[in-house]
Amino acid sequence: MQLVINGQSQCFDNVNSVLQLLESLSLQDKRIAVECNGEIIPRSTFPSHLLTDGDQLEIIVAVGGG
């Protein structure tokens, strides 16, 4: 399916849940937060939240800043 991740459109095979998406990006063990179509996806629902073709996701981290 086609997903827009952090503004970039990418094609994913065998990805159904948010957790599977994160695993395919090697992000499953990282300190991140996820927003899907403007809604925050709680960490506890990563395995159960199912993605649809065309979903827009933001995957964010903490970085240095003032």
């Binding site: 990006l25 992000l27 403007g38 903490a62 970085v63 240095g64 003032g66």
Partner: protein, 265 residues
């Protein structure tokens, strides 16, 4: 040594350090960690950004270097120019930090000066307080806006000393003093501190704390400047609590006795 139990209280939590530091502009994580440690800061700001997809999956994360167990991480809304961007950023930040709701709100109005858009800031503050965030809010040194932000329910007011990253120090101590005198929540100077004396002056005016980033990260020797800033904030605070001598314009007052001077009748 006089030991003072003079804790900084923000949103019901107490802190020993009145120096808060940012984590931006450092050469690398090692330098960031060293400076933060030496500064003695307990509250540390971070920015919220998109992760790099597909690059360096084993790269350390800032939170590995500054663990939330050891520091109070204060997510900011740097780069947000609308109230909704700021609110959205902080919702994500709260999720990232496991429900931690103490946040720094800033809504900027101009890319060159990074001056706060106080109207948008007020709007964002209202939304965030309604969603149970504990908002420490970056603002201009306008005393009316400061009061309005406090009335909305912000837990700390953070007026700028001068422009973000400018190192110009406190440009309007009079406004700052008005804000301090009228506030019922902590007032922390945020933005524009350039060197140790700036921080000391802020504390002598009665600020409850100082937040700085560029002053330390932009120094030639950041760790040494962090150490200086730690002392500067402590010195300023003690001078404030000690109650300074009054200023006497045009009237000298010798410190030595006038009686018993040699050669006088």
């Amino acid at each position: 040594m006089i030991d003072m139990d003079d804790l900084l209280s923000i949103a019901g939590k107490s802190y020993h350090s009145r120096l808060l530091v940012g984590t931006g502009k450092y050469r690398d994580f090692a330098e960031t960690r060293a400076a933060v440690e030496v500064s003695g800061a307990q509250i540390v700001t971070v920015a919220i950004r998109r992760t790099n997809i597909g690059q360096h999956p084993n790269e350390p994360n800032l939170l590995d270097v500054l663990p939330p167990e050891k520091f109070t991480l204060l997510p900011n809304t740097a780069g947000c120019y609308t109230a909704m961007d700021a609110v959205r950023t902080l919702r994500l930040a709260r999720e990232l930090l496991d429900g931690h709701s103490l946040v720094k709100l800033e809504v900027l109005g101009d890319q060159q000066t990074l001056f706060p858009d106080v109207v948008a800031t007020l709007e964002a503050a209202k939304l965030l307080v309604k969603e149970d965030f504990q908002v420490m809010v970056y603002t201009s040194d306008d005393p009316i806006v400061a009061r309005q932000l406090e009335d909305i329910g912000c837990v700390a007011i953070m007026p700028l000393a001068s422009l973000i990253g400018s190192g110009m120090g406190i440009l309007n101590p009079w406004n700052l003093q008005i804000i301090i005198e009228n506030a019922h929540v902590p007032v922390l100077v945020d933005a524009g501190v350039g060197t140790a004396s700036d921080a000391t002056i802020a504390m002598e005016l009665g600020c409850d704390g100082v937040l700085m980033n560029s002053a330390i990260a932009g120094a030639r020797n950041p760790a040494l400047m962090a150490q200086a800033m730690r002392k500067a904030v402590e010195a300023g605070r003690e001078a404030y609590l000690a109650g300074r001598m009054p200023r006497k314009t045009y009237q000298a007052s010798p410190s030595s006795p006038m009686e018993g001077m040699i050669g006088h009748t």
